[in-house]
């Protein structure tokens, strides 16, 4: 599904694998970098479609009205000391009166079962899911214990199941990451 050779960015998967980095926001970044969403604009002229603009990470700040409100308030965004800027953000159905921002607390991805080519990958929740990524978030883990657990799960997969998998790229990078 994914072209395995060099992409239009000139960065190929092998480069990313070797460096343990991914291409995001127009540069190579650490795999666990706080990768964020993207906005792309296109324009249609006649029968052709053109890509006119893309923006990533803090380039999307301007779209977040709540931040603009906070910027006008005395305490501002009040994000100093958090693990990362958006560490306080929760899904809107998860705030309640008792919600407090903990300096070390981060969003925790719920446990899930991922079916990959007929095999079940069981994942436990872990902290430090710091951002979002086009991958099952269980493809990486924060602590050495989790890392080795996850590493063993991944290496238990026969290499062939990784071929052609939509997650192939990320799993490959994750394996590299686990070694360090």
């Amino acid at each position: 599904m994914r072209p395995t050779s060099t992409t239009t960015t000139g960065i190929d998967d092998k480069d990313e694998l070797e460096k343990g980095q991914v291409y995001y926001n127009y540069s190579m970044q650490k795999f666990r970098a706080r990768n964020g969403p993207e906005r792309a604009c296109s324009s249609k002229m006649g029968r052709h479609i053109f890509h006119t603009y893309s923006s990533y990470s803090r380039g999307l700040d301007i779209l977040i009205g709540a931040y603009n409100w906070l910027d006008l308030a005395p305490k501002g965004r009040d994000e100093e000391g958090l693990k990362h800027g958006m560490a306080w953000v929760r899904h809107h159905d998860k705030y309640d009166e008792g919600y407090r921002v903990g300096a070390k607390a981060e969003y925790v991805q719920p446990a899930k079962v991922l079916r990959l080519h007929g095999r079940l990958l069981r994942a436990t929740p872990f902290v430090n899911f710091s951002g979002c990524f086009e991958a099952p978030s269980d493809a990486w883990a924060a602590t050495p214990t989790q890392r080795s657990w996850r590493g063993s799960q991944l290496s238990a997969l026969p290499p062939k199941t990784l071929e052609g998998s939509p997650f192939r790229r990320v799993i490959a990078i994750a394996r590299k990451t686990f070694k360090s």
Partner: protein, 157 residues
């Protein structure tokens, strides 16, 4: 400038009479106006960026079935695609994307009136997208790019 900021942080805000407050506010207003003009200028330069032709035919899964990239324009001449990080098998979408997406519904109708279609795209299959969309109470158009290279081609660059 920086040491002064630090100092005021340590000691708390200065409490001043109204006339003095008004002076300070007017000073800040000058900077706010300068920032507005700089932002307009930056937006102008953004619009002057060159364009690149989209060569691949992308087909997405939407509530009405298969939709090409051209279909996503929905009769408008401009399309904004927001990549929402919801991958196949995820129990819920990324919280930061959800935060941004909480701001979308109110804008969609205004954008449409200004010749812009706003569409959200994720790699999760459509059924998973719709389940999460229902939980979050969103109404915006959200399609699956699961069967395309779209995310790879446009997100990592």
């Amino acid at each position: 400038m920086q040491p002064k900021l630090e100092k005021s942080k340590m000691e708390g805000p200065r409490i001043v009479p109204q006339a003095e407050w008004l002076e300070a506010r007017k000073e800040l207003l000058k900077k706010e106006k300068e920032f507005s003009r700089l932002r307009d200028e930056l937006s102008r330069q953004r619009r002057e960026m060159p364009w690149e032709k989209v060569e691949k035919a992308y087909v997405f899964d939407g509530p009405k079935g298969k939709e090409t990239l051209a279909d996503l324009f929905g009769g408008r001449s401009q399309l904004i695609v927001y990549h929402f990080m919801l991958g196949p098998g995820w129990k819920e979408g990324c919280p930061s994307c959800s935060f941004i997406s909480d701001h979308i519904d109110g804008s969609v109708v205004h954008l449409a009136a200004r010749d812009v279609r706003l569409v959200v795209v994720s790699r999760a299959p459509l059924a998973e997208i719709e389940a999460f969309k229902k939980r979050m109470g969103w109404r915006f158009d959200w399609v699956s790019s699961n069967a395309t290279d779209f995310n790879y081609d446009y997100r990592y660059r």
